[in-house]
Amino acid sequence: MPDGPIIVQSDKSVLLEVDHPRADEARRAIAPFAELERAPEHVHTYRLTSLGLWNARAAGHDAEQVVNTLIEFSRYPVPHALLIDVAETMGRYGRLTLATHPTHGLVLQATDKAVLAEVLKSKRTAGLVGDRIDDETVVVHRSERGHLKQVLVKLGWPAEDLAGYVDGEKHPIELASPTHPRTPTEQPKEWVMRPYQSQAVDGFWHGGSGVVVLPCGAGKTIVGAGAMAKSGTTTLILVTNTVSARQWRDELVRRTSLTEDEIGEYSGARKEIKPVTIATYQVLTTKRKGVYAHLELLDARDWGLVVYDEVHLLPAPIFRMTADLQARRRLGLTATLVREDGREDEVFSLIGPKRYDAPWKDIEAQGYIAPADCVEVRLTLPEHERMVYATAEPEDKYRLAACAPGKNRVVERIVAQHPDDQVLVIGQYLDQLEELSQHLDAPLITGATTVRERQRLFEAFRSGEISRLVVSKVANFSIDLPEASVAIQVSGSFGSRQEEAQRLGRVMRPKADGRTAHFYAVVTRDTVDQDFAAHRQRFLAEQGYAYRIVDAEDLDAVA
């Protein structure tokens, strides 16, 4: 293919030219095995990683298919060494399988004696396996199923887990349409799962266990509900925080046959165990006298399905607990497989391979996510503030830059430009947020706000009763603000990519009228604030969002 849309580099990156006539075809072909690294306007960069190739292998793609795809769409001859490496890497998956032996129980089987010998020779597998049955089979201690998988991935010989799952306690769950209204004002409405959502559910169910990757706002909760309906068993849902737990509960009641009585919340505040139990990571990782106090939850019922929300935030202790949950079906939901701690391989080995992934932009193109317009407003500090900044201690500089008083006026002007929108102001520093809240005459939600108050304000915001809301970091994770169409970020913690995805997620929930969402970041020029903003800018541009920089003085020109 002399004029293909992709260029394969020897460093294992794959460049896809978006404007090429065959770009869509190529994207679909390489998506199963290549991780999308960045998606700016002209050329998207994918990367071939061991995990990605194993994910593809788990999904039933073989090396030949991958190699042929690369060759077919490549504009230039594909580096030979890379093709060999792809074949070699993919060949490593599935040489070892975990299976259930009729007499010996859980066993590790190898199609290649040498591989088994190599793996067993490693110190890391010591204690995880029992007796050798023959050259190709070794007994695995049931409790070490997860640990062994972790170790095998680290050794480069990922095992395919075909040992199956316990059925779990039956509990019928159906998806319900029309919805069950949660508030008196809400109207029941007809709905069906979006095509990609049902594909995700099917992908997961056929794979057994694994991770579904969907962008924020693409309806991951519904994928979870779909999986529960498919499973029809008791389910344990692990979420990041209490607010998120309540939203899961609301959404499940709204869209499934489950009633409030069937759903329990297991959090710091309440400890209910019901057929469907929603627990927070925090309560599970709470230690009392050095031991995890709430481990019994995991064995409290015969769970048939465990759902992990926001897998990319899964804390390390949960991994350890998950290692013991290998006999149950596990569904991971996330917007990104990229973890800032680099523990992607643990997600792979313990939760499972990626079962479904939809490119963010594709879903947006299908109209399920509001397109977002990202604007960075650059504020020039007045002379005296520049002097204060220049002479400040390094550790104070970010705070000084992020809390520049001039930002308040900028925010006011932006808010004034969006009189009809639901505006969310997000920040890190409480003083600044309080000030803004007074300036804008908008309620403020911080970590100190009670859950009840938070929910009341969110509800008011949702219903349009209030149109301005100032929130601190707590708003970053898994709260649902469907009608926020403008988000203004005034300060943030050091430009983490994850945080960025979350914040963008706030405004990218589908809008009823298909309006463009706006994302403003107010940044102080020539300060560390701007340096951190550069990370954000890179992330957003990599995600394919139009990114503009506007000087605060020219703000009026922006519609």
Binding site: L15, P40, H42, V43, P79, Q537
Partner: protein, 866 residues
């Protein structure tokens, strides 16, 4: 054994001896002999007899055999074995004995002349034809001779060949006279186990170990010896005689004819892939060399005293190139071979880019590559041994003068030919070695060298994915004329000539611009390596896709101008078929440092971008440019400042003060190029009442005009505290010093107090309060007061040394009185640094100098006050 046996039935009109055969050769045949074995002609033999003697000498035979391939050796062995038979040996006999006739029996019947087969072509003649041709060559080369008449050939080996080929040719045992042979050995009625023993020895080696006595096998072996089928050579060994061996082999000398070079299994690679890999390697290499030139231009690495590049410089170079050290060593060697960098011959010498580098940098990628490749093709360098140790244990450095071997070009050609024999196939090291071993089984090339040449070929892109690329083939084509039968001396010359033609052909082609076939080359239609590489290189693109995340992608091979732009203004993130770059503050700063302005840079980028410059990138460039050069740094010798700008008005413009190099930095500040004192004098002479100020801004008094030595001495003691006058020995006090010396000498005679004691005395004598040094010292030696203890004489070396050692240990200053070169006493405050071998090395803090004093010249020592 090779000499004509008396009972041989040679035809009457055939030559009877080897010498005769040589002597009766035609002139053409003699010329053919000399062509095949050039060593016979140097020095010129005086007679044909001596030519024959030389041709059958061990040295010459060994030489000829070293170049012989496996096929030739097989034929020679076969002739050697069969010629012992009584009947004349014909080519057909050899073909049959080799088993080469089976495939082409019909040709055997018709043609018995090698020339016929040659004309018939390989396909028709099959293996038999090949064998005949080899026989013809061997006759030409005088390794065989024909004792028969014209019509009936009788092949004989050259005398001495048996010794040269070694024992057991073709794995057959020794020949024995006909009368010793059993008349009709009955191989079918042998005792049990006998056949197995014979079978084990049949295809060689023919020597077996005799089984232990009284074993069943022993009896069988003995029975075989009795039957004359085995020969006892000594108490423990038996050997299968040649005649029995041949009988067991059914008259064959070899199990199968080894007529063609082996074709080792290799991965087959599509030619397009090979060329693509080759091109990408070539581009990488060209880039490496470019980086090398830039790096060595900035900091030319020194040449080691023994020649070559030091380990640390190699590491630094590898870092600059962004590759590993072995690759860097190869790149350095290639660049040097091409003359792009060289020893500059300065003192001390260092490696620098040459004028060749200038020309090279102007060429396009293909030509740049061709220069490197053709330099490599003829290079005798052996960079693969870089990093190993020589006999003296020194690590061999890249560019070291002794890293060359005369045989390298020949081996290189053979390696490339081995690859060329199997196009579009990737051969590994073992495969190549197998082929090379077949070509010269008696002179196997060192594995390390072959591996090194393959590595270099890969680095150069002469191979791609392990197979010979089109460009590599073109390079080989230029080397080829010299390849067959190349000898040590002539071969290299021929190779050199061939490479000269590479350069010339290419040069002409490039001059023409299209590079398609060297215009000046006599052999037309053979594209030069540069042209072949140019064809393999991906097409140049002059477009960069700029994106909002501050990355840019050049979707192909960047044109030279574009490459320069992106390398300078951005950081490359990924290379390969495409180049991805990222713009950052640092990279844009780099471009601005090179003198580009923000506007130019943006224009340049916009010009090459299909979709213009994205706004974030524009902001980045403009923001960086705004901050770029906002803070300026310069050099100044001194400055002038004044509270009132009018005082300084006109100074900078005054032509009389031009020599001061005055620059106005601000209305009230001027910088000057000259030192402060000179500036001060100049301003004074112009009538300004200037004053010198110190770093603290306070006006310095006239102290600055003191003699420098005094000033520094004062400085070291602190400017404000008037310490005791330093005890320099002024001229006026010389008499006093003399007197002191006399006194000390006298005291020594009498056994009076040591320097330490005198010091203590002096400290107490003085009305100034005792300083810490002496006090401490006095405390350390409380008993040392005059008169109380009989002290050793002053100036006694032991005493001096003790005080010095104390000072050395504590790192303290001491006052030393020493006898100067003119015999005068000098007194200096020194800080001892080292004391051994009767010498003191000390630092003179006042003069900031180190000095060495012989201890015997030290008249006295005493601890100095701080």
């Amino acid at each position: 054994m090779a000499s004509t046996s008396p009972d041989s039935t040679a035809p009457e009109n055939g030559p009877r001896t080897y010498t005769e055969a040589i002597r009766t050769r035609s002139d053409d045949a003699l010329a053919a002999l000399l062509r095949a074995r050039p060593d016979l002609a140097t020095p010129s033999p005086s007679t044909l007899r001596s030519l024959a003697a030389r041709a059958s000498s061990r040295t010459s035979l060994e030489r000829a055999l070293a170049h012989a391939d496996a096929r030739t050796l097989q034929v020679l062995e076969s002739v050697l074995v069969l010629a012992d038979e009584d009947r004349p040996l014909t080519p057909a006999g050899v073909v049959e004995a080799l088993g080469a006739g089976a495939a082409a029996g019909d040709t055997d019947a018709t043609g018995d002349d090698a020339a016929d087969d040659d004309a018939a072509g390989d396909d028709a003649a099959g293996d038999g034809g090949v064998v005949r041709r080899v026989l013809g060559d061997l006759l030409d080369a005088g390794l065989l001779w024909d004792a028969g008449a014209d019509a009936e050939p009788d092949l004989r080996p050259c005398p001495g060949l048996a010794e040269a080929l070694g024992p057991y040719p073709a794995g057959l045992g020794p020949a024995r006279p006909a009368e010793d042979r059993p008349p009709h050995p009955d191989l079918d009625s042998l005792p049990r186990g006998a056949r197995e023993i014979l079978d084990a020895l049949t295809w060689g080696p023919p020597v077996g170990v005799v089984p232990p006595p009284s074993s069943a096998a022993r009896q069988v072996v003995e029975a075989l010896v009795d039957a004359g089928l085995l020969i006892r050579t000594d108490a423990r060994h038996v050997v299968l005689p040649r005649d029995v061996g041949l009988l067991l082999r059914g008259g064959r000398t070899h199990p199968s004819p080894d007529v063609a070079p082996p074709r080792p299994d290799g991965r087959s690679i599509a030619p397009a892939t090979v060329d693509a890999e080759s091109a990408s390697a070539a581009l990488d290499l060209v880039r490496y060399v470019g980086l090398l030139v830039a790096a060595w231009e900035d900091t030319p690495p020194p040449v080691l005293r023994s020649g070559g590049l030091g380990v640390r410089d190699l590491r630094r170079t590898a870092l600059a190139l962004g590759c590993d050290e072995p690759t860097a060593a190869s790149v350095v060697e290639l660049a040097a071979a091409a003359g792009i960098v060289a020893d500059d011959g300065d003192a001390p010498p260092s490696y620098r880019p040459t004028t060749v580098a200038d020309a090279w940098e102007e060429q396009d990628d293909a030509d740049r590559w061709a220069l490197l490749a053709s330099a490599w093709a003829t290079s005798r360098r052996t960079p693969w041994i870089v990093g190993s140790r020589d006999e003296r244990g020194t690590v061999r450095a890249p560019l070291a003068p002794d890293l060359h071997r005369a045989w390298v070009p020949r081996l290189r050609t053979r390696v490339l030919e081995a690859l060329d024999a199997q196009p579009a196939t990737a051969l590994d090291l073992d495969g190549v070695l197998r082929v090379l071993r077949w070509h010269t089984p008696r002179a196997v090339p060192p594995e390390q060298a072959v591996a090194g040449l393959l590595d270099a070929a890969r680095l150069l892109g002469v191979t791609g994915a392990g197979a010979l690329s089109a460009a590599g083939r073109a390079l080989l084509a230029h080397l080829r004329p010299a390849a067959p039968g190349a000898d040590d001396d002539t071969g290299d010359r021929a190779v050199a000539a061939a490479t000269a033609s590479v350069g010339a052909g290419d040069g002409a082609g490039d001059g023409a611009g299209d590079g398609e076939g060297g215009a000046g080359s006599a052999e037309v239609a053979r594209p030069g390596p540069a042209a072949a590489m140019r064809a393999a290189l991906p097409t140049e693109v002059d477009e960069v896709l700029l994106q909002g995340d501050l990355t840019g992608i050049v979707p192909g091979r960047p044109s030279q101008a574009l490459a320069r732009l992106v390398e300078r203004a951005a950081d490359v993130e990924s290379r390969g078929a495409a180049t991805t770059v990222r713009f950052s503050v640092a990279s844009v700063t780099r471009a601005l440092d090179h003198g580009t302005t923000a506007e130019e840079l943006l224009d340049d980028l916009a010009h090459r971008s299909r979709s213009g410059v994205p706004q974030p990138l524009e902001y980045l460039v403009r923001d960086t440019a705004r901050r770029h050069e906002a803070v300026r740094v310069g050099t100044a010798g001194s400055y002038v400042r004044a509270a009132d700008p009018t005082t300084l008005a006109g100074l900078a413009e005054d032509p009389r003060l031009a020599s001061l190099g005055l620059v106005r930095l601000a209305p009230t500040v001027l910088a000057a190029a000259v030192p402060a004192a000179e500036l001060h004098e100049a301003l004074r002479s112009r009538g300004l009442l200037s004053a010198l100020e110190g770093p603290d801004g306070r006006v310095l008094s006239a102290r600055l005009r003191r003699p420098p030595r005094l000033e520094r001495a004062a400085g070291s003691r602190g400017p404000t505290r008037p310490g005791p006058r330093p005890d320099v020995v002024p001229g006026a006090d010389q008499a006093e010093a003399r007197a002191a010396l006399v006194a000390r000498l006298r005291a020594a005679e009498r056994g009076e107090p040591t320097a330490v004691d005198r010091l203590a005395t002096r400290a107490t004598d003085r009305d100034t309060p005792p300083r810490t040094g002496p006090v401490r010292h006095a405390e350390r030696a409380p008993a040392a007061t005059p008169g109380q203890v009989p002290a050793p004489p002053p100036g006694e070396p032991g005493d001096t040394v003790a005080v010095l050692a104390d000072a050395l240990r504590d790192g303290r200053l001491v006052w030393i009185e020493m006898v100067g070169p003119r015999g005068t006493l000098e007194r200096r405050a020194l800080k001892p640094l080292r004391l051994d071998g009767g010498r003191l090395r000390a630092l003179d803090p006042d003069r900031e100098a180190e000095l060495t004093v012989a201890v015997h010249r030290i008249a006295g020592v005493e601890p100095a006050d701080e």
